[in-house]
Symmetry: C2
Subunit: 211 residues, 2 copies
Amino acid sequence: MTESESAGQVPSPSADDAHLVEHRLSREALLQGRFLQVVRDTVRLPDGRESTREMVLHPGAVMVVPLVETPSGVEVVLERQYRHPVGRVMVEFPAGKLDAGESVFACAQRELREETGYAARQWARAGVLHPVIGYSDEFIEIWFARELVLGERALDAGEFLDVFTAPVAELLAWCRDGRVTDGKTLSAALFLQNLVSGAWPLDWQDADRLS
Amino acid sequence: MTESESAGQVPSPSADDAHLVEHRLSREALLQGRFLQVVRDTVRLPDGRESTREMVLHPGAVMVVPLVETPSGVEVVLERQYRHPVGRVMVEFPAGKLDAGESVFACAQRELREETGYAARQWARAGVLHPVIGYSDEFIEIWFARELVLGERALDAGEFLDVFTAPVAELLAWCRDGRVTDGKTLSAALFLQNLVSGAWPLDWQDADRLS
């Protein structure tokens, strides 16, 4: 292993990664909770020794960045939701877990509609993020939505949240000053800032072509 | 609860959040693994009913964005590390968990030194993120470091990673094209892009004044 490598090296996973990669030898179920499923894998390390890795199994999720065009610029639809694990009300983009067998796009449409009441005529995929690579296999697909039409919310039982809109500049100010600390929302703000500046345009598609 | 609120509302947690906040009634240990600790809390919902919330307990972590000034612009020190939960080599900023009783700044210095070999003469705190608000109390402090001096790495047992540097523009291109999907690194890229543009300057302090 090199101590430090030259600038600009492409970090492609297809490079020779044998000195980094671990191989799973076995899996043991540790917890089947009502909500969380945890396993312990035994892995072979790059140096040939064995170790264990504990992790949450997660079905994956989708986050939606809903855009509202106004005469004074682009606004985004956000939520305020109490999150028990961190003990506070968080400002975040709508998001939710994939149901069994559900497509990513169907989940994006469903979560937007259930949590905010909005349907969107146009959609664009921005990417994917892995929120917690140390102990969960969760991924969050990042989708943008525009041309919104307001309908009826349909929150899950036990789900309580406020929906509001804010100018993009205001959201970015909240990211900077610490009023937004949700990791997925900070990540989405990177794509949002670069979309609005024109640096990272998206490939918009009509909803009926994606369904 | 209002269906949708007016634009620009300040999402301050100090507003009247009684319609959102849950109160913990009891806690039950579900799992004490070698690495993961999981609990199930019983909570009172805003509507008075009871529900349960399962979550990972985490000591908190620090991420470091190490800057290297070069004649052609700012570069960052990054790592390539295999992450078993997501089954791939990830490009990410150095980060690590707080040891018991350790200060955030001491952890930042230690993780940078252990994983990359670098010490930094100047440091600035950019903020904090919550990577997984649905099922963990983890927070990640976001610190920037500059005026780096290379010393000796000292990886933990069973830790294998490559260290390299890349221009900021290259890192941002990897965020856009999906070669970087680590949530904490995407969040840090938001602060980094705005630092480099001059939009979000940081309050730099000498290491010896922070220790």
